[in-house]
Symmetry: C2
Subunit: 395 residues, 2 copies
């Protein structure tokens, strides 16, 4: 193990913490740009409570609404224009992963003179990785992407049909204000897709990481076991605040870098899914539910012992009288059963997606991140042909 870890985000976690927003924001600036999505935070009253807290702390407010799912670079540019015009010195994201990712890039684009698409990696020669951004405060209303406490953002370009990402230290939120009460109104299907996103963040590191990381293995297994247990409860009863709390906490820990520290983490399933959802407007977590078991079955053959460990430690399956690969496949079946049990799709056909663009998705998936052979990093790295094979098995 040889690695670095750094995450300076101040996490404030717990039911009811939204009321602290004004007090927190005033430490970072005088006028905030609140970024929101399609309007659910207004319907739920969360927006009004946030504004009231800000105003009572003497913080002025401007607004950027209507960040779409799979947020577009045009929305980033629009947000940055508002921030500049209104003289905002802080960006507050209130919403899910799309809103948080767009907010991070709005915070960076506000201080950048060029085309904001330059800041996102999309195979260009001169990727301008951001070094400055307005202070960012994240207020997640969905447990899923983990964007609340990390330095990443995923942004789409509707023109070129590319969905890609950037990671930069200036994108770490100053504060992640994580109030599980805000997720109580998330519908059943979105709750399930969020749980799938959380688990995929952890499984793909678990399966693509290096050997010799026993503590990280246990951390990862702990998050997966807990997300399965409490995810089921949150889907079954959305008003269960204890379940919402545990799932929200799982979201934070699944992708703030700590579970993956030192594992040489690679996110191949996310990369393939991004290619898919750039072409089809499907929910990210639902796309992952389809792709992750297909991916697991493909790579299990190269590393059956690792998948056998997954089967044993996550699902308590016994390996007596079974070879590792048989046990591995039984574990993946169990995992797929779980996804189905909470209402996730597990086949591309459920989205009406056929094999017409499989080569294109494979091409797009390796566009930004690839090794010297042009393969998607992972264990093993996937060639474009491998990606097509995975996609075919998910039809």
């Amino acid at each position: 193990m040889k690695f670095e870890f750094y995450n300076p985000t101040h996490l404030i976690f717990g039911a009811g913490t939204l009321s602290q927003l004004g007090e927190i924001a005033q430490k970072h600036g005088k006028k905030v740009l609140i970024v929101t999505g399609g309007g659910s935070v207004k319907r739920s009253g969360v927006f009004d409570r946030a504004v009231a807290s800000l105003k009572s702390a003497g913080v002025a407010v401007a607004e950027c609404t209507d960040i779409e799912p799979n947020p577009r670079i045009t929305s980033v540019a629009r947000g940055a224009d508002i921030a500049r015009k209104e003289g905002c010195d802080v960006v507050i994201a209130i919403g899910g992963g799309s809103t948080m990712d767009a907010s991070k890039m709005i915070a960076a684009a506000t201080l950048y003179d060029g085309d904001p698409w330059n800041l996102i990696g999309h195979g260009q020669d001169n990727w301008v990785i951001p070094t400055r951004a307005l202070p960012i405060i994240t207020v997640p209303t969905l447990a899923a992407t983990g964007s609340e406490m990390n330095k990443g953002a995923v942004i789409s370009n509707d023109e070129s049909k590319v969905k890609s990402f950037v990671q930069a230290n200036c994108l770490f939120p100053k504060v992640a204000l994580v109030d599980p009460e805000l997720t109580l109104t998330v519908p059943k299907d979105q709750t399930a897709y969020g749980v799938c996103d959380i688990i995929t963040h952890v499984t793909e590191g678990y399966f693509s990481g290096i050997d010799g990381t026993p503590i990280q293995d246990r951390f990862a297994e702990g998050v997966i076991i807990s997300a399965i247990e409490w995810g089921q409860k949150a889907v079954a009863d959305g008003s269960d605040i204890e379940a919402r709390t545990q799932v929200q906490w799982a979201s934070v820990v699944a992708l703030n870098g700590w579970v993956q520290a030192g594992t040489n983490y690679a996110p191949p399933v996310h990369m393939i899914e991004h290619a898919l959802s750039a072409h089809h407007n499907i929910t990210h977590g639902a796309g992952l539910a389809v792709l992750n078991p297909a991916y697991m079955r493909f790579v299990a053959k190269a590393r059956p012992d690792r998948f056998a460990q997954f089967a044993r430690r996550i699902f308590g399956l016994s390996g007596v009288d079974k070879d590792d690969l048989t046990l591995a496949m039984a574990g993946i079946d169990k995992f797929e059963d779980f996804l189905r049990s909470i209402g996730c799709p597990t086949r591309l056909s459920e989205f009406g997606i056929d094999d017409a663009l499989f080569s294109q998705y494979a091409e797009d998936a390796v566009l930004v991140v690839h090794d010297e052979n042009g393969h998607l990093p992972g264990r093993p790295p996937l060639s474009k042909a491998d990606i097509v094979t995975v996609l075919k098995s998910a039809l």
Copy 2:
């Protein structure tokens, strides 16, 4: 769960990373104060390698040597004097927990005009918690205290026989440069005491924390299981770099706050041990080995289900046909067996300590941290009489 988490230390981990020290230090200042202990880092050549790296990066060096085990406030004052006289703008700790803790307080005391003992909590009316410190870089040469990546320091006052602590955000190291190669020369007994320190950081949170923290439970269990497995190997063969690496990593994760986030962590065993080692010059980790099983047997009665979970998940014991308390006690026996197997003492008599000062230790243990009843926080909180009972059972 309602909590905050913040840890901005930049962790650089891995065998061979010591060579990066100069390059790292020059980002934080021009002249460093290197703080060391009894001389082992000079004998091992680590000091010379550190100085060579610093000099080649154009960083000037001053020295504060001879920080003793259970470091004293007089050494802190001496170090701060040197830092001021030499015009140092960075403090680098190269050593174990004592050296790191003293270095943190030297960094704070250099910028503080009063008596540095004011900065340490010891029951005084006006505890001056530090708000400023020189940048700190930790280079641990022992896997034990976790001080390398947290904001705490434990300091003793030889005059008043008080050993106490402070926690402050300014004490977070800017960088923790953690090179497991530097621990290859640690003798067998100190290696074992370090493993015990690591495990105790986790067990006392695990047993004293709130209910409803399933992810943190798994994190804690993962650290304990791994520290037991790899600790045995590191004690058996000190030259096993893989074992040294895993134990060093366990040290970092056991007390950088992440495993305990949201659990309402209390460290009762550490508090009792501090009282003991303020009066007797015993190694902190060895003191913990004696006190922890005694403490566990005492509090298990109040929370047998938690200890039964420990027995099942850490040692794989089966609870079939056993009540929780029986299973709990069997788990604690196993834990004590493990401590003995790596050469730790488990009785006060092994230090030649009798019951003469038991009331005094109990008094000292609650001096700094106590609840409204004067009890030592934990689950349950311990009265002074409880502490004496625990001590008696460890005779």
